[in-house]
């Protein structure tokens, strides 16, 4: 059954992707490129690189779409594509916000104390 493209994703508004491997390859390369700008020790860079390279390796090694979905284990391949798009947008915004810097301002003394 390899090579048969599924008819529908079953989700409203999410069209079946005709070349998911190509799309994911492009997205993951862009994400990894955008992560290179961040400092080496930033936790976001570390964990995201780990996650993305793992998924990228799955994409490179597995040609069958259904088996790839099972390997990545995060829903359908179209959902994986939208997650990658979101991650790409996020990584670009993170380079602006720079959240790895130390805390902006400590909360006042009793701010989070509960009960009062």
């Amino acid at each position: 059954m390899a090579g048969v493209i599924k008819k529908t994703t079953g989700l409203v508004g999410l069209a079946v992707s005709h070349n998911p491997h190509e799309r994911l390859r492009i997205l993951y390369t862009k994400i990894l490129g955008s992560l290179q700008i961040m400092p080496q020790d930033a936790a976001y860079r570390k964990y995201t690189e780990q996650l993305i390279t793992e998924r990228f390796n799955h994409v490179k090694s597995e040609q069958d779409v259904e088996k790839l979905e099972k390997k990545i284990n995060c829903g359908q391949i179209e959902e994986v594509i939208s997650q990658a798009e979101a991650e790409l947008a996020l990584s670009r915004k993170m380079t602006e916000w720079k959240p790895w810097e130390p805390l902006v301002e400590e909360a006042p003394a009793n701010q989070w104390k509960w009960p009062i």
Binding site: A43, Y44, Y47, T48, L51, C74, G75, Q83, A84, A86, E87, A89, L90, K93, M94, W97, K98, P99, W100, E101, P102, L103, V104, E105, E106, A107, P108, N110, Q111, W112, P115, I116
Partner: protein, 242 residues
């Protein structure tokens, strides 16, 4: 059942994680015996550790904004952030592959008048992919505006207008400013009028005379968290008066 809050205090200095157990407050602990009251909520240490590890993960990625992370005794993860970090943290939780909290369930505020920043704004988020929830909390006072989270979650729109009307703080709206009160002006209010002895419909007035509430109750709310009363302190060198 010991109602204990395990707090992971994220300090701004140094990267070490302080696991400070709640030893400062007086907690009633009971020795572990066989469970004789099965209606008590059973503890779930596995979920607790999973949530606390995820909380540490978030705090490690966003140290610029995250001030504190805690997991309540009901296994709910709460992340306390600085108000500057509303949009970054909410965008991160929504877009990052490991979190994917793309559903905003609620946006409310808690008014604690005794604090310097009296309003505590609470965002409740849900992740459909991982079936988990998270709570993000910030703070503000009456005058400081907050960034609106509508660019991240459209659902925040109504909740922001509502909390704008219920409390006194305000958000910087990206879209045109229309509060709930503006909508109410167009409606009619119905009340029973004693003079004419029938129900009367008038334009909305929202009479404020009866809004003074006394929230003190005669019962102690949190007996487990009683603070020790300060004994009168002596200056060093003074002798106690006989």
């Amino acid at each position: 059942m010991a109602a204990s809050l395990v707090r992971f205090v994220r300090s701004g200095f140094g990267r070490s994680l302080n696991v400070a157990r709640q030893s400062a407050a007086i907690v009633q602990t009971r020795t572990t015996t066989t469970e004789t009251r099965p209606t008590v909520r059973p503890k779930d240490p596995v979920t607790h550790t999973q949530l606390s590890e995820f909380g540490e993960y978030i705090a490690e990625i966003l140290p610029k904004y995250v001030q504190q992370v805690q997991v309540t005794c009901f296994n709910e993860l709460e992340v306390m952030i600085h108000p500057e970090g509303i949009i970054p943290v909410l965008t991160f939780l929504k877009d990052h592959t490991n979190s994917q909290f793309n559903n905003m369930i609620d946006l409310t505020a808690v008014d604690v008048p005794t604090r310097q920043y009296r309003f505590e704004i609470v965002y409740n988020l849900l992740s459909l992919r991982y079936n988990s929830r998270i709570r993000v909390k910030t703070y503000t006072d009456e005058l400081t505006p907050l960034d609106s989270s509508v660019p991240v979650h459209q659902a925040a729109d109504w909740y922001e207008r509502e909390s704008n009307c219920s409390f006194v703080f305000y958000f910087i709206f990206f879209i045109k400013c229309e509060t709930l009160l503006g909508v109410l002006i167009l409606l009619r209010q119905v009340r029973y009028d004693d003079e004419v002895k029938r129900v009367v419909a008038e334009p909305v007035e929202l009479a404020q005379e009866f809004r003074k509430f006394d929230l003190n109750s005669p019962w102690e709310a949190f007996p487990a968290y009683r603070e020790p009363k300060d004994a009168p302190k002596l200056e060093s060198g003074d002798k106690p008066a006989k």
